[in-house]
């Protein structure tokens, strides 16, 4: 009913190729964005903005980065957290060593440095495929973490090897409250998500998908393997790098290389798998599932179970329920939450007259 498209005809090619061809989608997305920008910062408190929404947005961005590489270009990687680390430490060092650099430029620079490192670690993908490539991407994870711990230059000789991110000031405006940092994070994530959506609909994105579906066939029809695979690595690492810089600057404030360990890489990979491979929406749904659900379960067990139930029991129970839900959703729809949404939408468009 709400998805009835009667009367919506596309009369131009550009109209047919827009991101959201259905009017209801356009309205819903604009309303969502407007609410996120203009309503949430005013009604959300410090806890919701600073501890829930900011990390959710940042990890969505990292998941989006990995989704470009794994979901669209078909290259499995277990090194996303390492590229986040590169971004965080690059932004810190750029701010530290370049006098008067704007934070936004530092974030962009952090993304570019991460993209450069990603290119290097993407080189094996020209020879190795599938699980074997995943194993070589572990090299990125371990060697980057090792280098950041080993060489004190990266942390400006901090004895414990941690960095304290500089304050975010843009054109004299201080982003010092959770609400302001949330708006900044949201703006960056929204812009990059829009760029990603357009990128995957472009020639580059179609080349990635061709490589993903069958790389020999793609090469035969003239898609350059080297350039296609390496751009996927570079763009993916750029997104992860910006996410890492935001993690350090807009969320935690103080990070150590261990904040970006293998577990974080797995976490991001799970977001992509549960959210839906090859879907921008899936990156956000997956991040919501992996980031928000454990917190929700923690709050719920404390609220629902009587006070005398031991803390160890509730903590372990949360993990059990969380694991169960992962199995449930993957059994229900192996292609992820985004696919569930898509199926629901298809049904709604035909309702009430399914074939």
């Amino acid at each position: 009913m709400i998805y009835r498209e009667a009367g919506q005809f596309q009369t131009t090619y550009s109209g047919d190729m827009r991101i959201f061809p259905i009017r209801q989608d356009r309205i819903a997305v604009s309303l969502l964005l407007a609410a996120a920008f203009f309503l949430v910062p005013f009604i959300g408190n410090d806890y919701w903005l600073g501890a829930i929404l900011i990390p959710f947005l940042i990890l969505s961005l990292a998941a989006l980065g990995l989704n470009i590489l794994t979901g669209y270009a078909g290259q499995v990687s277990l090194g996303s957290a390492a590229f986040m680390a590169v971004g965080a430490f690059a932004a810190f060092n750029l701010m530290l060593r370049v006098q008067g650099l704007s934070v936004l430029l530092a974030f962009a620079g952090a993304g570019l440095v991460a993209a450069g490192v990603g290119l290097v670690f993407g080189l094996p993908s020209l020879r190795i495929k599938g699980f074997y490539l995943a194993v070589t991407s572990l090299a990125a994870q371990f060697s980057i973490e090792w280098a950041l711990t080993r060489f004190p230059w990266f942390t400006n000789n901090n004895p414990s090897g941690v960095i304290s991110a500089q304050k975010i000031v843009i054109l004299g405006y201080r982003f010092d409250t959770p609400a302001r940092r949330y708006v900044l994070t949201l703006a960056i994530v929204a812009l990059l998500a829009l760029a990603a959506k357009n990128l995957v609909r472009s020639r580059i994105g179609r080349a990635w998908m061709a490589v993903r579906d069958m790389d020999v066939a793609a090469e035969v029809i003239g898609i350059p393997m080297l350039r296609t695979k390496l751009t996927a690595f570079a763009v993916s690492s750029f997104y992860c790098g910006v996410a890492g810089a935001l993690w350090a600057f807009a969320y935690l404030g103080t990070v150590e290389p261990q904040a970006f360990d293998l577990n974080r890489s797995f976490q991001i990979l799970f977001m992509v798998i549960i959210g839906g491979m090859g879907s921008v929406l899936g990156s956000f749904l997956g991040a919501a599932f992996i980031v928000l659900l454990p917190i929700l379960l923690n709050v719920a067990t404390h609220a629902l179970l009587p006070a005398h139930v031991s803390g160890s029991l509730t903590s372990n129970l949360e993990l059990v329920v969380f694991g169960g839900l992962i199995v449930f959703f993957l059994a229900l729809e192996p292609l992820g939450l985004a696919r569930l949404w898509q199926i629901g939408k298809e049904k709604l468009r035909l309702w009430p007259f399914p074939h």
Binding site: I52, T149, G253, A259, G311, T314
Partner: protein, 440 residues
Amino acid sequence: MRYTAIRIGLVALLGGAAFALPVPAQEQFIPMASYRVGPYAAGGTGVFGGFIDYLDMLNLRDKGINGVKLTWEECETEYKNDRGVECYERLKGKGPTGAAVFNFLSTGITYAVIERATADKIPVVSIGYGRTDASDGRVFPYVFPLITNYWSQNTAKVKFIGMKEGGMDKLKGKKIVNLYHGSAYGKETIPVLDLQAKKYGFTVTHIEVAHPGNEQESQWLQIRQLKPDWVILRGWGVMNPVALKTAAKVGYPRDHIIGVWWSGAEEDVLPAGDAAIGFIAAGFHPGGTDFQVMKEVQKYVYSGGHKGNLEDLKRFGSIYYNRGIITGIINAEAIRTAQARFGKKPLTGEQVRWGLENLNIDEKRLKELGALGLLQPIKASCRDHEGGGAVKFSQWDGKQWNVITDWIPSDQSIVRPMIEESAAAYAKEHGITPRDCSKE
């Protein structure tokens, strides 16, 4: 009749006023950002078990602190920084006056909340972990790495080695290996060891073990080639038993391995079996149940149908559990100190901070608390947020930890200048003007 009406009106007015101004609950909220799952759950369940049991005992025995009941709520951090920050934000505003004081039992989370807590005016206590240079209270007014920090502990270790060798002058020409966990925590003592090596004339070799440390063959082969006189084990979690087992395999004597206090619990040595016999660890408190305060906890919390926080009662009196009791004592005494100044009512974080800074637990107070021998005297100040600094060394005999030294004080002539230098660098990086302690 008219007067009656006025009287009724007055009573109604007064009654209304009384309802409009609810009496604030006499409750002090203490957040428990604990971790009970994951690789470090043994530490989390033990320490937070002891912490909660001690507060529970105060509630049952004394009706809280001076009549102010203690309340708490747990939040699972999984020892992860992002979850820790989430817990901080979730719990900071609970209770009638907000969170009194945070304890995270995680160096990473403590680092991550320093700026938030300073802005929110809530003190963060990190007993035996956390940011070492926060001992300089002029730069870090809201952070309290109480009792002892890693650098202090490290100088005490070198003193202990000197004692064993027969004098500090005998250290000249000796070889010491620093086997450390490849993390911020593990790296923290490298500069202070280098400095002491220069001062006393021994050589120190730093060897890193990558996290989590369940594979150490190559490191111990390197140690066998170096033939060091002592090995300092700066381990955490699974790294500790693996180090001891591998040392046994390459034939390095365990009684020449000295661990930090995060290597010195029952959970660190039991998995290594006989390979751990003889291993020495530093600690800022002993284990055991032979203290009056432990008997009180046993009496009030674990008897008469009341059930304490521990699930496995065998862990009562273990190293981690006693560390929790100590954490409880220090937090409660800080609130008590602050109440003496601000009144016997629920206090804000800012007021509890004053209590922490003016904390003075002397021998007499320790005796009253029933913690003589469990805890060392502590006196914090605006300048010094550490307040103690001494450690005792214990040796594992295969069944229990036996204390083998008295309190060995740290060498503040080495540590304090390093702390001030590091804190000054932090102040400069963040544009903080250090407080003037003469005006506090």
